[in-house]
């Protein structure tokens, strides 16, 4: 096999690729923040003694965990732009692809985050809630001041690992022609007829970033385990 690698289109494309990386990071960060907040609420609903609330949360989590991410994203690309346009009276030409990607990821990831957080809440001994209640704290105070801080401490490595997976998954937005890092690499490769080089390069960047972060998480986990 004689394939002549030609990496020359990469240096010139770096600014464009960096713009793509910024979009990938933007989606990741929004989805992580929203996912943790909404996921925490879902987890608390799911553990709540009020049955309908628990059912709603369980239904939500099971629904999103049972459909492929790519389908959720596709629905969001098809439906959310319409909704956003009609709700906010936007010009039909406004680009809402990034917003719908963020909403899609956030709603999807919150289902996964909620399961991590639920496990974290359940890892805190029941006696802690009893002690907080015995001191006169309300349920929400006991949660906020006593249970969640301990739960999050136990969960940090898992939450970060999920964020790394999420970062990789953002590459799926390329199918909406949104120029995230992967989409940008694909576009450049396509334009210059150097798809193989660009995809190898993109893969290497994903690997280096994610592997490094995983190592950081592992270190963190070890350090926290000794405290």
């Amino acid at each position: 096999m004689n394939y002549d690698f030609d990496w020359s289109s990469i240096p010139g494309a770096l600014p464009f690729l960096w713009d793509g990386m910024k979009i990938s990071l933007e989606i990741t960060v929004t989805a992580v923040i929203f996912g943790i907040v909404w996921g925490t609420l879902l987890a608390m609903l799911r553990l709540s003694p009020v049955k309908p609330l628990a059912w709603f949360a369980a239904g939500y989590v099971n629904l999103f965990r049972s459909i492929p991410l790519v389908m959720v994203l596709l629905w969001f690309f098809l439906i959310v732009p319409q909704l956003l346009r009609s709700f906010f009276n936007l010009d039909p030409n406004t680009d809402v692809r990034l917003t719908s990607a963020m909403i899609g990821f956030a709603l999807f990831e919150s289902a996964y985050y909620s399961e991590i957080i639920r496990a974290g809440i359940q890892s805190v001994p029941k006696g802690q809630v009893a002690a907080a209640s015995a001191l006169g704290m309300s349920y929400s105070q006991a949660m906020r001041l006593v249970v969640l801080p301990q739960a999050f401490r136990n969960m940090v490595p898992l939450l970060l690992t999920q964020a790394i997976v999420l970062f990789q998954d953002t590459s799926l937005v390329y199918m909406s022609a949104l120029a995230d890092f992967f989409g940008a690499a694909y576009k450049v490769g396509d334009r210059d007829g150097r798809l193989v080089e660009l995809l190898l390069f993109a893969g290497a960047v994903y690997f280096v970033l994610c592997f490094t972060l995983s190592q950081v998480v592992r270190r963190l986990q070890k350090r926290m385990a000794t405290v």
Binding site: P125, A130, A131, S133, A134, L135, G136, M137, S138, Q150
Partner: protein, 242 residues
Amino acid sequence: MITIDKVSKHYGSFQVLTDCSTKVAKGEVVVVCGPSGSGKSTLIKCVNGLEPFQAGAITVDGISVGDPKTNLSKLRSRVGMVFQHFELFPHMSITDNLSIAQEKVLGRSKDEARAKGLKLLERVGLKAHAEKFPGQLSGGQQQRVAIARALCMDPICMLFDEPTSALDPEMINEVLDVMVELAQEGMTMMCVTHEMGFARKVANRVIFMDKGLIVEDDSKDAFFGAPHSERARQFLAKILQH
């Protein structure tokens, strides 16, 4: 102070408490003992509503615990409770453990709460450990902090749920000493414990439970002198053997 009237509780078909009735007067120290599974811990947790019960009534300082209209959190803030496994908050320093409920529940200022916490920490002999975290203290020290934490709320009575049974033997006395001192100062106390030495020293009354029933409820001298029931006699013989 505490009135327990015909309280019954069951988990499904399993009866945990059957028609339990007793009273604890102001300033009285009542020890609750009995074999494991007799329902004594459940009974004491019913007193501040940590465990719900299906029948009967409990009042603390005239306020009904089982009444859905009662503000349970408010009532609990006036009743101190000490747990078998201490249940200090591991992510907070000792100072914060002592002041958090004072600030968030009683609305005291940070300075006031800290000062009160330190005063009570000194009282249980642990002032030097104020800035440490619970994990850095021994079991006995943690339990003394837990007692101080409950006292910070200026409770009208104290509930102890097997406060020494998770401790190494050499740490039991430091905790009992604090409890004896409290009792001698006139604190109203209900203690689930197997420490018969403690019962002999400070209890006014001893309640003996078995299979969810209050089998004996008598003055300390009557209980240790001549228990009415065969079951209590056997129990005493076993635990006082050595």
